[in-house]
Every structure is written in structure tokens, then in C-alpha cells.
């Protein structure tokens, strides 16, 4: 049986007594693209952060490529984080580094590659997101769409086993959304395992293997796009879809 790349098993999480995740179970197989939708505060981002090993879970387990990583100590956890790529809503590019240095950073600081080799590889990945000519520009000098593409390259260059996207286009001007979605679609076509929190329903329809609806810290529905949009089984999903579209 094919081992899922990412697995969350009955994951619960609360902040200051406020329960954000309530026993979420999720499996992402190799090459699958899961799109998570749901109202704000439903726990989407928190789930993603737990999968990225950025937040310890209170209860349940997180598995990455067959290894259980929940409960692992901070020091030993850090290298595992580089095996999962994370893309943030607000890009979070290192402001004090050029686009190239941003993409090189993980290779040099985490993988301990030589500068020349890291540079070579970073340039390849900037090329892949169509930004090789912006290598020497600082984040401040790039548009939101360009920054997000650099952020994707920064995560990809680590050759992660899965990529997580936390509302990657919500902070972008409308005309810049497309260029980021194009990069993500190409990535999905190449067989990258992805979990995407997004309300870009057309993207979800095109690319997703399945769509998940979250509400109140739980996954209330999961279905392939066609079924999810045409006949959602849950009343809450129906109401939410009518609001988003």
C-alpha cells in the first residue's frame, strides 16, 4: 500500500483554551493536491502549520513520509521542516536579502551547501518561476506576485516532499493572482504533493484531487471537485459556496 506523504491523525489544538482544531484526520497521497476551503477561524491555517511542523499539536499525530514527527523535540524537528515547503499569505520573504539570496538561504543555512552550488541551484529555481532576471532585486522592489513566486522558489529549492500553501493569493491584487496560480498549476502537473488553503474555486476545480471543507476546527466534507461543487452533501458547504462564488 502506498504510504501517504502527509498524514494528520486526530489532531487537536487549542490556544488559550480556545479549541481551534478538533480531531482532524487527513491523508495526502503522493502527487495529490488537496484544496482546503472554509470560513475564517475554521482552523485551516492552523492545520497547515501543524502539517508544516511549525506548531506542536496538543493531541493526535502528524506523520511525514512514514515518520511520526509530532512530539519530536524542537532541535531534531528543524531539519524535518525543510522537507515540507511552506508558502505564506504575506510571502514572508527575508527583507534583507535579494531574491537570489532568499532562495539560496535554505540551501546554505540548512543544507550546508557551498555558496557557488547553492547559487547555481537557486538560479535554476528562479528560472522555473520565471524570475531569473529579478535575482538581484530585493523583495521591496518586487510586485506581490513576483514576491510570492520567489517564495515558492525558496520552498521548492529544498526539494520538499510536499508543498503547503496558506492562502497564497489572498494578499495579491487581482491582476497578479494569475501568475502565481500558473506556477502552482505547473507544479501540480509535475506531480508535486500539495495542500492548498485557498478560495480560488476555479483553481480548485482544475487542479485539486479533492476539496475539503473545514468548519469549526473539523473537516466536515471531502470530495473530488466535480462532486464537491455539483452536489455538496453538507448544508454548511452549500451555504459557504454560495457566499464565495
Amino acid at each position: 500500500m502506498n504510504e501517504p506523504v502527509l498524514r494528520a491523525e486526530a489532531v487537536s489544538k487549542s490556544y488559550d483554551g480556545l479549541s481551534v482544531l478538533q480531531g482532524v484526520t487527513l491523508e495526502v497521497g503522493r502527487g495529490e493536491v488537496k484544496v482546503i476551503i472554509g470560513p475564517s477561524g475554521s482552523g485551516k491555517s492552523t492545520l497547515l502549520r501543524c502539517l508544516a511542523l511549525l506548531e506542536p499539536v496538543d493531541d493526535g499525530h502528524v506523520w511525514l513520509d512514514g515518520a511520526r514527527l509530532s512530539g519530536v523535540r524542537e532541535k531534531e524537528l528543524a531539519p524535518h521542516r525543510s522537507e515540507v515547503g511552506m508558502v505564506f499569505q504575506r510571502f514572508n520573504l527575508f527583507q534583507n536579502m535579494t531574491a537570489l539570496a532568499n532562495v539560496m538561504c535554505g540551501l546554505v543555512e540548512v543544507r550546508r551547501l557551498k555558496k557557488a552550488e547553492a547559487r547555481e541551484r537557486a538560479l535554476q529555481f528562479l528560472e522555473r518561476v520565471g524570475l531569473r532576471d529579478k535575482a538581484d532585486n530585493y523583495p521591496e522592489e518586487l510586485s506581490g506576485g513576483q514576491q510570492q513566486r520567489v517564495a515558492i522558489a525558496r520552498a521548492l529549492v529544498m526539494r520538499p516532499k510536499a508543498m503547503l500553501f496558506d492562502e497564497p493569493t489572498s494578499a495579491l491584487d487581482v491582476e497578479l493572482v494569475r501568475e502565481v496560480l500558473d506556477v502552482m498549476e505547473a507544479l501540480a502537473r509535475d506531480g508535486m504533493t500539495m495542500v492548498v488553503v485557498s478560495h480560488e474555486l476555479r483553481f480548485a476545480h482544475h487542479v485539486a484531487s479533492s476539496i475539503l471543507m473545514m468548519d469549526d476546527g473539523k473537516i466536515i466534507e471531502e470530495a473530488p471537485p466535480a462532486q464537491f461543487f455539483s452536489s455538496p452533501s453538507h448544508e454548511r458547504t452549500r451555504r459557504f459556496l454560495s457566499l464565495v462564488e
Binding site: A52, A78, P79, R81, Q95, C105, E141
Partner: protein, 243 residues
Amino acid sequence: MLASFDKHIFWEALSSRPYWHGALLSLELTCATLGAASVLAFFLALGALSKSGPLRGVVLVYNWLFRAIPTLLLLLFVWNGLPQLWGAFTGGWYRPFLAAFIALALNEAAYMSEIIRAGLLSVDPGQELAGRALGMTRGRILRRVIVPQAIRIIIPPTANEFITLLKLTSLASVISLYELLGASTIRASQDFRYLEAYTAAAVYYLAIVSVLMVFQAQLERRFTWRSTARRRRTVPAMAHDAR
């Protein structure tokens, strides 16, 4: 009125050895103090931002103590009081410069720690999050991402602290350290040419602060992350009507 200003005495004072020496001493004391205080303050700031309650408590007490005690009192305490408290400090190695350095650095670290804390807090938390997501350790994130960005915020208030310290070094004349102001007071008392003696001292202060301001501007440019800002200095701007 200017007729009473004797240019000759002024130039003589300005170029005299005690002035040179005093100015150099003030500058050395300022640099050494600010350097040591910044290092201590960096760890105090990390302590203030840590999750550990006791650690935050220690920093709070330190900052409370050394911000409350007047600098002059601390200086006198360290020079006169410390040898009574600890026999080790009665040795010949315990010079006024060292005492002034200790007192001013302890004092300054309390102020600098607040400046550094503010600088660290000004960095978007998303920067650390991105570093952690890449698998970087906290130490590396601090060194490569957070500290460089905090420095940009810290530079202007630190330049202020430098200037304040430069002036505070004159307090050390009470513990017989003949820095710039001490030298000018002695010069003035020789023939009561206060005007020339003090003007000459002011020129030194002006010169030091001028150099500092140039240095500050360069440093700020270095910690501004825009390629165009740098390129403008090497490549002439393209003409508007370039066809």
C-alpha cells in the same frame, strides 16, 4: 566683543597635546563603552523577550536599577566605593579609565537594551516563521534574518546614545580622568581665557559628532535593502530621452 577673542590662544589650545589627548580619551571611552554596553544589552534584550519569567525578571531589575541611579553617582560609586567593597579593586591596575568604562557601560547597557528590544520587536514575526519553515535553527534565524533587520531600526537611536555618551565621558573628570572637558578646564584655569579654551573644546566635540553623522549615514545606507539605492552610486541614471 569678538575683539576679546584671541585667535592665537584658541589655535594654541586647539592644537595642544592635552586637547588631542583628551579628545582621543573621550572618543576611546565612548567607543569602548558603547561597544561593551551593546553586547551586554543584546543579551538583556533577548532576556526581556524570552519566555522565561525569571529571566525577564532579572532584566527588569537590571534596567530599573541602572536607569534609576544617576550616572555621576554610579561613577563615584564604582571609583570610590567599589575598592571598599572588594579589596581586589585597590590594586594599581584599577585606573580611572577602567572605572569610568565600567560605570558608563553598566549604565548605558540598560538604555541600549531597550533600544535593541524595540529593534527586535520591530521585525515582522513572519520573518522568523519563514525561517523556521525552511528548517533554520533559531540561532541562525536571529543572525541572518532578524538581527540585520533590527539593526536598521537601531542605528538612529544608537547614534543618539553615542553622542550622549561622548558628553557623559566629561563626568569622568570628577574621578581625575583628563578627557576633553577636563583638559579644557585646566587650560582655562591657566590664564582664565575661558572663551578660547572652551571654544577649542567645542570644536573637538563638533568634529567628532560630524564624523559620526557621516558614518551613520553610510551605515544606514548599508542596511537599506534596495538595489537601486546602491546602483545609483555606481551607474549614472539613464537619460529620460534615451531612445
